[in-house]
Symmetry: C2
Subunit: 272 residues, 2 copies
């Protein structure tokens, strides 16, 4: 699965001398639509006496960004298309929910009992277009079916937060928005990037020499997804309520990547 | 891609109060076959004044374990089977190298120009059965072609190291052996587990309640792969020479998982 194309090349610094420290922010309250997320996060950081420096990174769970942006959606009145009805009969999910998933997607990748894998408008592939019910804090009244969609443009959400952090602190802080996705071949979810700002998407080691002076042929590291997995580990998934993690010691220079850079186009993917 | 079956269920503690700290060990020398790896690592830890506690974890790059176990292999004299010849003509790799990959594999998953994805005897799926040329420190003399294979049984390698750490320090330390794999859909490699001891493979949140009291339906976290990605970020890939990372603050209780628990059987995988 080595990549055939890489869009971002970084003149790298040297890794390996400082620890990577991921600190969960404990004081972030339940977020409501329209809440000033950046200010709430900075307050939690101050309360926890975490010093924020240039090149630190704040990793946010997708849900907290979606809630701020009021991406709640009541799909109780969605009209069910023939495609949604057919897919629902295969995967066994609520046909209106399937219709909602389709409306967030450009393409169905796989469908099977219990499983609907699609390509989201943003380009990433996941089950149910990243739409979730747990931890959304919205109770279905009669005639309602609430879901929480992912941010409309998570790269832009990250960029906006980065700007607000800069304005408030004077520091250039990377921002990473993550979700938990399942994977082919391996059981269990891992944290992955769905949008970011001020970070390199990929770190290209090709052309660099290895320890023995041999030129590395094909190593491109998806540093931002490695960081997403690391932060996800710290967040947990159920009642821990840790939607934000502060990171210091990221071993690469910050960059200007975006999500599209790390998504493999269909033409060069054997599993799409 | 939610899992249909989970083999390990953990009575979990609560995450989210302590930082996760990943410290690169700087003083690990180039490892030679037969070197006392556990002792070398403990010396590096001491030199760096890292206190080792119960529930800490040591993450090791696959290469350093393979070298210790003398998994160097000269494949210059391998006889090329018709299958290897045919695959080589498709992927454009050295037919003897393809033969070597096949000898380490149970099944070819995909072949395409530049790409040979197989299922390794251990059950994981990756390009080239995890066989690598970079950083192996072996120069091909005339008539030689050296490669470094992954450990015969990486779970057992981890278990042995765990026992040696316990004997030397009196502490129960988790051991994780990782490699960097590419993935469908996303460009770039991320660190993944290929063997471990004293760690939970999966953390099963099903049946737990989310923040709002709703029962989580299908969240099973592959905590060990999230940790692998985190440690891989700290290791880097080229001339940094950081084959070992010390981890404190892993947010889940240590367990007794193994690699097979997190590999999805062919019957329930849509991408094999």
């Amino acid at each position: 699965m080595f990549p055939e194309k890489v869009f971002y090349n970084l003149n790298m610094g040297k890794t390996g001398t400082q620890p990577l420290i991921l600190t969960p922010l404990n004081g972030v309250p339940d977020i409501q639509p329209g809440n000033p997320l950046a200010a709430i996060i900075l307050e939690a950081i101050n309360n926890q006496n975490i010093g924020v420096e240039d090149n630190d990174i704040l990793v946010l769970a997708q849900k907290v960004v979606s809630k701020t942006e009021n991406r709640f959606f009541n799909y109780a009145n969605l009209k069910i298309s023939p495609q949604a009805a057919e897919l629902a009969s295969i995967c066994g999910k609520d046909p209106q929910f399937v219709e909602l998933v389709l409306s967030e997607s450009v393409r169905v990748v796989r469908v099977a009992p219990g499983l609907l894998i699609v390509e989201h408008h943003s380009g990433f592939i996941s089950a149910n277009a990243g739409i979730d019910h747990s931890n959304i804090g919205k109770k279905d009244l009669p005639g309602e079916k609430w879901a929480l969609l992912i941010p409309l443009d998570a790269d832009r959400s990250a960029e906006n937060l980065k700007s607000e952090f800069l304005k408030a602190t004077g520091k250039s802080i990377g921002v990473l928005i993550i979700d938990s996705h399942g994977r082919p071949w391996r059981i269990g979810t891992v944290g992955v990037s769905i949008g970011f700002a001020g970070l390199p998407a990929l770190v290209d080691m090709r052309g660099r020499k290895d320890l023995y002076g041999r030129v590395l042929e094909s190593t491109v590291i998806c540093a931002v997804d490695e960081l997403a997995a690391a932060a996800s580990l710290v967040m947990g998934q159920a009642d821990e309520a840790i939607p934000v993690v502060h990171v210091s010691g990221f071993p690469y220079p910050l960059g200007n990547g975006n999500l599209r850079e790390l998504l493999r186009p269909k033409e060069i993917d054997l599993f799409k």
